[in-house]
C-alpha cells in the first residue's frame, strides 16, 4: 500500500476499527463498509450513537449510506476532485491544524527550483518521458538540500518553494465548481462534508477516513489514498484516537500475505526484492512491457543492486528507522540460507536471491502466460478464471500453460477451465496438464491470519482435513523436501540456493491425536518469522539451529553480523519466547486490548501515536489523550505501545550529521521516514507523481475538466494488445459507467461461498442495479434480464431497478451509472455470468492493480443470445 507507505512510512492501516467509536466524524469513501465489512461497521454505528457524524460518498446507495448521517452520490472515478477540493478548502480558509502541520509534516521543506507542477505542465510533473510513459528521472521532485545534504526548511511556510505553498497552488483549481462539474455533486452537499471534517478535527476532536478497494481498484488508486492522507495530515488526525486512515482489506490474511509476503517486488517486512531492472520500453513498438531478457542490453534502470552493499545503498537510509536495513536483510538471509549466509558476510547468499527485471505482477504475468512464456503455474487459493480482470483472457492464458497445480476446496473455475467455460470448450484442444489437489479449510490446520488492523491472530486446529486434503503448509513443505532430494547430487551452481535452503520443520512431538502425522510444525515457522539467535551472544562458539535456538524478543535485537535470523522483521515480537505465542494471546481487556493477539510492529494498535501528543509531549487535549511524555519517569507512556524511542525526550535535538534514529528530534513522530515527518509532498517512492492529480478513468464518459492530460499518464496501457480493447473518449456505443462491488453473502469470485446452499439461498443470482430513468430509457423491466456489454465481453444479469442508483448531472450532461456485483462463475451450486469478463486490463502504475471500479459499458433488455 504505497499510498499510505509513502505518506506515513508503513503500508498498513494506521488504526483499528474498534477505535472508530472515538471518532467525532467518519468519512467512508471507496467502501461499502456495512456490507463488505459488517462487523467492523458496528463500530461506526456505535460512534454515530455517541454523536459522531458519519458521511458516505459513493456512486451506489447501500446499507452504509442508509446508516450514515449524510450520503452523497458521486461519479465513479472523480474522487481526487472531491478530496482535492476539501484540501483546497482547508488551506484557503485556514481550517488546517497549524501546529500539527508545521511540526509533524514536511510542509516547511523547500522543493528544488527545477520542480514543475501539473499547474505548469497541464497535468504532468517535471521529468515525464512520453516515449516510455513514465517518470524515469524524478530528481526534480527532491527537496532543496544544504551542503550537508539536509533538507532546507522555512518555518514561516511563506517561501514560494516550500511544500505548503506548492500544495496551495497545486490544489487551487480544485474548487466547489469543479466538484459540481466533475463529480456531479452539488457544492452545498460537498460543503457540508468540508465543514463537518473541519469542525470535527483539531485539538479536541478527531475524524477518521475508511476506504477499501473502491479506491484501490482505479488507474490512480494510490493517488486517491494519497489525497486522503494529505487531508488527514492537514486536519491533524494521524496517530490520534478516533483519527487515522482505516484501510479495509478484503481477505482473512491479505495483510499477512503483504507483510511476509507472496508478492514479487517485496521480501519480508517491506524490504524491496532485489532488482536488475530492464528499461520500460516505448509504448508504441512493443508487445508487452514485461521485460524481455536480451532487450536493450546496455540500458540500465536504477542503481546497481548486484551486491549486498549496493542493495543496502540503494534501499536503505542513513537516517530514520530504515537505517536498520543491514540488520534486517542480513537476518533475513540467515533465515533462508543458514550457515551459508555467513560466506563473505552474506554476499554469496544475497546473490542467490532472484533479481526482478521488470513488472512480474499477477496481471502482467497473465499476458506473458497468454504469449506462451510461462510454462508452469501454481494456484494456491486464488481463482483468476473468474476473479481476475478480463477473465476471459485469463482463461485463455491458462490454456497456454504446460502444467498447473490448483489447490482449493472445490473444483473452482480455474481448475475446470479445460472442460467447461462461459463459451463451449473442447478438452481435446487444451494441452494444459492439471493437478487439482484438495486443500484444508481454516479449521483444519493451525496458524495465523493477519487482519485489516495488522493484528496477528492464531487459530487452533479443530480436526484433520478430509481424505487427501492437506494444508498448504504441508504441500509446500513436502514439495520442498522432494525437490531438495531431486537436486541433492547436483553440482550446478544454480541449484546451490535450493541445497542451502533451511528446510527442517519436522514436528518434534508425536502427532498422536491426528490422523495426518507428517504435517510440518507451524510454530517452528512462526519462530523463524519472529526471529531467533543463530549464535549465543555470550559464547559465540555456541551455534544454534531453528529447533534449539533462543527466540529473539523483538526487532531491536536483530544484528547485521550473522548472529540472528529473522523471516520478517516487522513480525518480530509475536513469539518472543518458546512459552509465549502472542498471536494466541486471548485477553480481551482494555481499550486497546493489548493482550489479544499481536499487532505489528511491536504490538502497536495506532501507528505514529507520538503525534497524539503536542511537540512538547503533552496530549493535544485531555479528551484526545493517548500517548504522552512522562517527565518524571523520563519515558513515553499511555494506552498503547509508544511508536517512538521510549526514552527520547521531546526536547531532544540531533547533533549535526547524526545518523540513524539519532538524526530525528524528539518532535518527529514519523520515524520510518528519513526526516521523521509525514509527507504532504512525496519526493521519492511513487511512479506517477509527488502530489495527487485528477485524471479521468481510462474509460470515462467525460473529458478531463482540469487538465489536458485525460487519464493517468503513467498507467500501464498495453495499447497494442488486441485482447484488451478499450472504449475511446466520446464513443457513443458505450455511454454508461459501471462500478463493481461485493455483496455480504458472497466472497470474491465465489470459491468460498457459491458451493454453500445457505449463502446461495440468501443471494441466488447475479443482478445489476440501475436507476428507473435508465431502465425506462432502455425498456428494461425490474426483475427481468439485461445484457451488459463492453469491448471485452458480454454478460447477462437480472435487473434491479432502484433509486439506489442516481443519474448525475456532470460535464453538462446526464451520466448514468450501473452497479454490478462480481461473485459468479460457471462452477459451483449457484452459477451466473462472470462480471470480470467485462473489465479491462489497464493497470495502476505503482501497484499494477486493474480499474474495476470505473469503466464503460452499454446495456440492453434481454438475455445473451
Amino acid at each position: 500500500m504505497p499510498g499510505l507507505g509513502t505518506s506515513f512510512g508503513r503500508g498498513g492501516a494506521t488504526t483499528f476499527p474498534q477505535d472508530l467509536v472515538n471518532s467525532d466524524a467518519i468519512l467512508i469513501m471507496g467502501s461499502n463498509m456495512a456490507e463488505a465489512h459488517p462487523v467492523a461497521f458496528a463500530n461506526v454505528v456505535k460512534a454515530k450513537e455517541r454523536g459522531a457524524k458519519v458521511i458516505h460518498v459513493d456512486p451506489h446507495f447501500s446499507r452504509t449510506s442508509a446508516l450514515a448521517n449524510l450520503f452523497i452520490p458521486t461519479r465513479a472515478g472523480s474522487d481526487i476532485v472531491f478530496l482535492g477540493a476539501l484540501i483546497h478548502y482547508l488551506l484557503e480558509n485556514h481550517a488546517y491544524f497549524h501546529d500539527y502541520v508545521l511540526s509533524y509534516t514536511n510542509a516547511a521543506t523547500l522543493l528544488r527550483e527545477d520542480f514543475r507542477d501539473t499547474e505548469d505542465l497541464d497535468g504532468l510533473f517535471s521529468g515525464y518521458d512520453p516515449d516510455t510513459e513514465s517518470y524515469p528521472d524524478q530528481g526534480s521532485w527532491d527537496y532543496q538540500r544544504d551542503q550537508a545534504g539536509q533538507p532546507v526548511i522555512d518555518l514561516t511556510l511563506q517561501h514560494p518553494r516550500c511544500v505548503f505553498q506548492v500544495l496551495k497552488r497545486h490544489f487551487a483549481r480544485y474548487t466547489p465548481e469543479m466538484v459540481e462539474e466533475v463529480c456531479g455533486v452539488s457544492r452545498e452537499d460537498w460543503l457540508k462534508v468540508a465543514q463537518t471534517l473541519a469542525a470535527n478535527s483539531g485539538r479536541e476532536r478527531t475524524s477518521a477516513i475508511c476506504y477499501a478497494v473502491g479506491w484501490t481498484q482505479q488507474s490512480k488508486g494510490v493517488q486517491i489514498i494519497r489525497a486522503a492522507a494529505i487531508l488527514q495530515m492537514l486536519l491533524g488526525n494521524m496517530g490520534r484516537p478516533g483519527g487515522g486512515i482505516m484501510a479495509l482489506r478484503g481477505h482473512a490474511s491479505i495483510q499477512g500475505s503483504t507483510d511476509v509476503p507472496t508478492l514479487y517486488d517485496l521480501l519480508g517486512g517491506y524490504m524491496p526484492q532485489p532488482a536488475a531492472l530492464l528499461p520500460k520500453q516505448g509504448t508504441t513498438h512493443h508487445s508487452t512491457p514485461m521485460a524481455t531478457e536480451g532487450a536493450h542490453p546496455k540500458a540500465h534502470v536504477g542503481p546497481s543492486q548486484q551486491t549486498l552493499q549496493e542493495y543496502i545503498q540503494a534501499n536503505g537510509s542513513k537516517t530514520g528507522w530504515w537505517s536498520n536495513l543491514p540488520a534486517y536483510i542480513r537476518s533475513f538471509l540467515q533465515a533462508w540460507y543458514g550457515e551459508a549466509a555467513n560466506v563473505e558476510n552474506g554476499e554469496q547468499a544475497y546473490r542467490w536471491i532472484p533479481k526482478i527485471t521488470g513488472d512480474h505482477s499477477h496481471l502482467v504475468t497473465s499476458y506473458t502466460m497468454l504469449d506462451g512464456k510461462v510454462k508452469g503455474y501454481f494456484l494456491l487459493g486464488q481463482n483468476p478464471a473468474a476473479g481476475s480482470t478480463n477473465a476471459k483472457m485469463q482463461r485463455e492464458a491458462l490454456k497456454q500453460l504446460d502444467w498447473m497445480v490448483v489447490r482449493d476446496l472445490y473444483e473452482v473455475e480455474s481448475a475446470a477451465f479445460w472442460h467447461h467455460g462461459v463459451e463451449p470448450v473442447d478438452p481435446t484442444t487444451v494441452k494444459t496438464e492439471v493437478f487439482l489437489l484438495p486443500a484444508a479449510a481454516s479449521t483444519e490446520k493451525e496458524g495465523c491470519f493477519t487482519n485489516t488492523q495488522r493484528l496477528i491472530q492464531w487459530r487452533d486446529k479443530a480436526i484433520d482435513p478430509p481424505g487427501d486434503a492437506r494444508s498448504d503448509l504441508w504441500f509446500i513443505y513436502h514439495l520442498g523436501k522432494r525437490l531438495k532430494e531431486l537436486y541433492a547430487s547436483s553440482a550446478d551452481p544454480k541449484d546451490r540456493p535450493l541445497q542451502a535452503l533451511q528446510w527442517d520443520y519436522e514436528h518434534p512431538a508425536s502427532q498422536a491425536q491426528w490422523r495426518i502425522k507428517d504435517e510440518p510444525d507451524d510454530l517452528l515457522i512462526l519462530k523463524e518469522i519472529n526471529g531467533y539467535y543463530v549464535k549465543s551472544s555470550e559464547h559465540p562458539e555456541e551455534v544454534y539451529n531453528l529447533h534449539n535456538a533462543p527466540h529473539v524478543a523483538s526487532f531491536p535485537a536483530l544484528k547485521a553480523d550473522g548472529s540472528t535470523a529473522c523471516g520478517s522483521w516487522i513480525y518480530s515480537g509475536v513469539y518472543p519466547t518458546a512459552e509465549n505465542n502472542r498471536a494466541a494471546a486471548r485477553n480481551p481487556e482494555g481499550y486497546t486490548f493489548q493482550g489479544w493477539g499481536f499487532a505489528w510492529p511491536a504490538n502497536r494498535r495506532i501507528l505514529y501515536n507520538r503525534a497524539s501528543a503536542d511537540p512538547d509531549g503533552k496530549p493535544w487535549s485531555e479528551r484526545k489523550k493517548y500517548i504522552w511524555w512522562d517527565s518524571e519517569e523520563k519515558k513515553w507512556t499511555g494506552f498503547d505501545t509508544p511508536d517512538f524511542p521510549l526514552n527520547k525526550p521531546p526536547d531532544y535535538i540531533p547533533q549535526p550529521g547524526a545518523l540513524g534514529m539519532d538524526a530525528h528530534s524528539g518532535r518527529d513522530p514519523f520515524l520510518m521516514k528519513p526526516d521523521g515527518k509525514a509527507w504532504l509532498f512525496v519526493p521519492k517512492g511513487l511512479k506517477d507523481g509527488p502530489l495527487p492529480t485528477h485524471y479521468e478513468a481510462v474509460e470515462a464518459p467525460l473529458k478531463n475538466a482540469l487538465y489536458r492530460q485525460q487519464s493517468n499518464p503513467t498507467a500501464l496501457y498495453f495499447r497494442d494488445r488486441t485482447d484488451n480493447k478499450l472504449v475511446q473518449l466520446g464513443d457513443k456505443h458505450y455511454p454508461i459507467v459501471v462500478t463493481t462491488y461485493r455483496l455480504t453473502e458472497h466472497h470474491v469470485s465465489g470459491p468460498m461461498s457459491r458451493w454453500m446452499p445457505w449463502l446461495n439461498a440468501l443471494q441466488p443470482a447475479l443482478f445489476a442495479e440501475l436507476s428507473p430513468e435508465l431502465a425506462a430509457e432502455r425498456g428494461i423491466r425490474h426483475g427481468g434480464w439485461l445484457t451488459i456489454s463492453t469491448p471485452r465481453g458480454e454478460i447477462e444479469a437480472r435487473a434491479l431497478v432502484t433509486r439506489r442508483m442516481t443519474p448525475l448531472r456532470a460535464g453538462g450532461r446526464t451520466v448514468h451509472q450501473i452497479g454490478l456485483p462480481f461473485h459468479w462463475g460457471f462452477q459451483g451450486k449457484s452459477r451466473g455470468s462472470i462480471t470480470n469478463d467485462l473489465a479491462h486490463m489497464v493497470l495502476e502504475p505503482n501497484v499494477s492493480i486493474e480499474e474495476a471500479k470505473a469503466f464503460l459499458c452499454e446495456i440492453r433488455a434481454g438475455r445473451l443470445p
Partner: protein, 188 residues
Amino acid sequence: MEEYPLLPAVVQGALSEVMQVGSKVQPFSAESVSKAPRIRDAQVVKSVCPYCAVGCGLNVYVKDGRVLDIEGNLDSPISHGTLCPKGSATFQYTVNASRVTSALYRAPYATAWQTVSLNWAMEQIAQRVKQTRDETFVTHLPDGREVNHTQGIASLGGATLDVEENYLIKKLFNGGLGMVSIENQARI
C-alpha cells in the same frame, strides 16, 4: 464470557430445588429434562473467520473428531460473538459434500479427471517443477548482470492462507527455486 457446557445441568439443579418446595407437580417430562444442546460436551476450539479481513473470533465445536457447529466467539474484542452471514456459514464451507477430497489429474488433451494418489501427484509435480526450472533458469542477463531467476513458473494466491504458509511459499519458490512471479490477491 464463555459458553458453559454444563449450564443445562446447573439449570436442572436449580429446577429440582424449586420442585422440592411444596409442589408435587413435575412440569417437565423426563425426556425434556434429559435433553441438552448437541454441543454440550463438545471441545471448543478457538479460531478466526476465513472470509474478509476483519478477523472475527470463531468457536469451533468438536466432538468425536467431527465439527458439530461453528459460532461467534463472545470473548473476541473485535466481534463480541457477532458474525455476518458468511462468517455464520463457515460450518458449511468446511463440512460440505461438494468438497474435493482426492487428488485429481487431467492429462494433456484428456477429456476427464482421473483420481490419483497424493503421493503420485506430489512426485509428478516435483518432476515438472524441476524440468521447467532447468529449462528456463537464467543466471545472467546479456549485459552481464546476475539475476538467478526463472520466469517459466509462476504462483498466485496467499491472501486466504496462513502467514506461515505465505512465508514458506515465498521461501521455497523465490529463495529456493528462483521464481519471481509470486503473487496474491493484494493486486486485485
